[in-house]
């Protein structure tokens, strides 16, 4: 299809009818109904937010960042992960991984769009943000760098995807590499949003900016198994098996490194009983959501990889679904744990106890917008599979 000077190769049969036309298997129907339900929740959640503003959320002065920040991080981590996996083939030239490049780069675009949608309803004044990000940039702010670099990253990803669709691999490589570097910079800046919080000793430091890159790669591989699983209905051909075996082996290494990182992070947090840090680390160790993250995102997938060194792609598909639930808890825990300890520990009113731990549970509106973001992401991806040929072109 020609749009102005651009040649966007849409699939011949792409139409509204082709979108509605899918195989009516129980799984497909379940996914379709879930997506419609999640989109309805997005509409309801956004309506409640527009009527009541931040009062529709359970965020407070002591816990100003809630579920939507965690979900935004979840989506942009997914995007960076997709970008890393997509780059293995078309930027770094690993032939076995080329077949997933186009699909992964498209995945990186839809996940970041879902992330931007969710954050638009968390930032109190998104239009003001777009104006004053340009007119009055706060260059010492990690949020400014993160937001600006992610905007650039999205642009590069779209250009790379355009060249991939047109089989212009040379230009795709140039924009892919640039997009990858900008994406990694954006993502480590997102880590530094937490790493720069000197007031929050549990998060402050170099850990998060580096850990974010590692977990992005892990997330990208989990998602690769999921999208390839749906693409081939778990009936993988030899070429795909080879790709997935390679990814599983990399995943085994990455999860091992992650376990190593997290273990030492917690040990150094607790060592010496440093005020504000050790007690928070101990509190985290006693929380169910931390162990959910550990079991679903680390232990289960690693055990399945170690079983036969990544030779069971179907099992890895299920492990990746478990992994993504674990990754969600990882993001939620990161945001919540950062704010666990009150910054002001004295009571200020009679008949009040001195503050202890900060409690937070997301409101129905926050949950609906978050699920809506997921629904939007799946819908965009599905429309993309109908509109574009996301498989590797023959002869490339």
């Amino acid at each position: 299809m020609k749009i102005g000077p651009l040649n966007i190769p849409l699939r011949e049969d792409f139409s509204l009818k082709s979108i509605l036309n899918f195989e009516k298997t129980p799984v497909n129907m379940l996914v379709a109904v879930s997506v419609v339900a999640m989109l309805a929740m997005l509409v309801i959640g956004v309506s409640l937010y527009l009527m009541h503003g931040h009062h529709a959320y359970n965020v407070t002065r002591e816990h100003p960042w809630g579920l939507l920040i965690a979900v935004y991080i979840f989506f942009v981590v997914s995007s960076t992960g997709f970008c890393i996996v997509g780059s293995l083939g078309d930027v770094f030239g690993f032939k076995d991984f080329t077949m997933i490049s186009k699909r992964a780069i498209f995945g990186s675009i839809v996940t970041i769009l879902a992330g931007f949608t969710v954050i638009a309803f968390e930032i109190g004044h998104p239009v003001t943000m777009m104006i004053y990000n340009v007119l009055s940039p706060g260059l010492t702010s990690a949020i400014w760098w993160m937001g600006t670099l992610y905007g650039l990253y999205l642009t590069f990803m779209i250009i790379e995807f355009y060249f991939l669709l047109n089989n212009d691999m040379k230009k795709a490589k140039i924009f892919g590499l640039t997009g990858l570097l900008v994406g990694l910079a954006a993502h480590s800046n997102l880590g530094s949003v937490f790493g720069f919080l000197n007031a929050r000793t549990i998060s402050q430091g170099v850990f998060y900016p580096t850990y974010f890159i590692l977990t992005a790669f892990i997330t990208g591989i989990f998602l690769s198994f999921i999208i390839m699983g749906f693409r081939y209905k778990l009936n993988f051909n030899e070429k795909t098996k080879k790709l997935l075996e390679g990814l599983a082996k990399i995943q085994g290494l990455l999860i091992s490194i992650l376990i190593f990182f997290v273990t030492w992070k917690l040990l150094t947090d607790m060592y010496g009983g440093m005020p504000n840090r050790a007690e928070v680390a101990e509190h985290i160790l006693g929380s169910g959501s931390f162990w959910t993250e550990v079991i679903l995102a680390m232990v289960l997938p690693l055990l399945i990889i170690l079983k036969d060194f990544g030779k069971s792609p179907v099992l890895m598909f299920w492990a990746s679904l478990s992994g993504m639930v674990g990754i969600f808890f990882m993001r939620y825990n990161l945001v919540h744990d950062t704010q666990l300890k009150p910054l002001q520990m004295m009571k200020v009113r009679e008949y009040q106890l001195p503050p202890e731990w900060i409690h937070y549970f997301p409101s129905a509106t926050e949950i609906m917008i978050s699920l809506g973001g997921l629904g939007l992401c799946v819908l965009l991806y599905y429309v993309g599979t109908k509109a574009f040929n996301l498989d590797e072109e023959e002869g490339h």
Binding site: R61, H125, Y132, I143
Partner: protein, 187 residues
């Protein structure tokens, strides 16, 4: 231009909360709003009767510390938080996007969301009210019955606050973070 700071002879505080009322009245802070702009923290008596630790009981008036190296100013993505001509940390509500990063970054929990403007607000040292009218006192200082607060120009060696800081021992809250607060607690 003056560089304003405040010394607090906090052991004289009787927790009458007149400072909170005066601040609300002067700066149009919502009535009934808890811990908006200024507050008095209470350390309760520790120990068990009859071995009560009487000296542990104290009041600690607090508010924005107007740090010279303010984390809230550094993290603001749109420079909505800025230093005014008196080196007071202020918020330009037109530029505030309510990302809440400053609320997470402030070590003193001095920031809150003003429900009327849906932007982040904080103590201004009465910059846009009393100082703007040419006065050199804050509402909280002016009303304090036990004269806990001394407000003045830190750069003027003749000012009362400079004299106090030269002659009285004092400390700052969370000084280890390097924020260089301009609230000084006299001991």
């Amino acid at each position: 231009m003056a560089r304003y700071g405040m010394a607090l002879d906090y052991k004289n505080c009787i927790n009458c909360k007149a400072c909170e009322v005066a601040c609300k009245e002067e700066n149009g802070v919502l009535m009934g709003a808890d811990k908006h702009r200024i507050w008095v923290g209470v350390n309760e008596i520790s120990g068990e009767y009859p071995l009560l630790d009487i000296v542990s009981h104290s009041f600690q008036p607090s508010q924005c510390q107007h740090c010279d190296e303010a984390p809230c100013q550094m993290v603001c993505p749109t420079n909505a938080t800025y230093y005014d001509e008196f080196h007071v940390v202020r918020v330009d509500s037109d530029k505030c996007i309510l990302c809440s990063y400053c609320m997470n970054a402030c070590p003193y929990d001095a920031r809150y969301v003003d429900d009327r403007t849906m932007t982040v607000d904080k103590c201004t040292f009465c910059s846009d009210t009393r100082l703007a009218r040419g006065e050199t006192t804050t509402a909280c200082q002016n009303t304090c019955p036990t004269k806990v607060r001394t407000f003045g120009d830190l750069d003027d060696p003749e000012s009362e606050i400079s004299e106090l800081l030269r002659t009285r021992e004092h400390f700052s809250l969370k000084a280890n973070l390097g924020t260089k607060p301009k609230l000084f607690y006299l001991t």
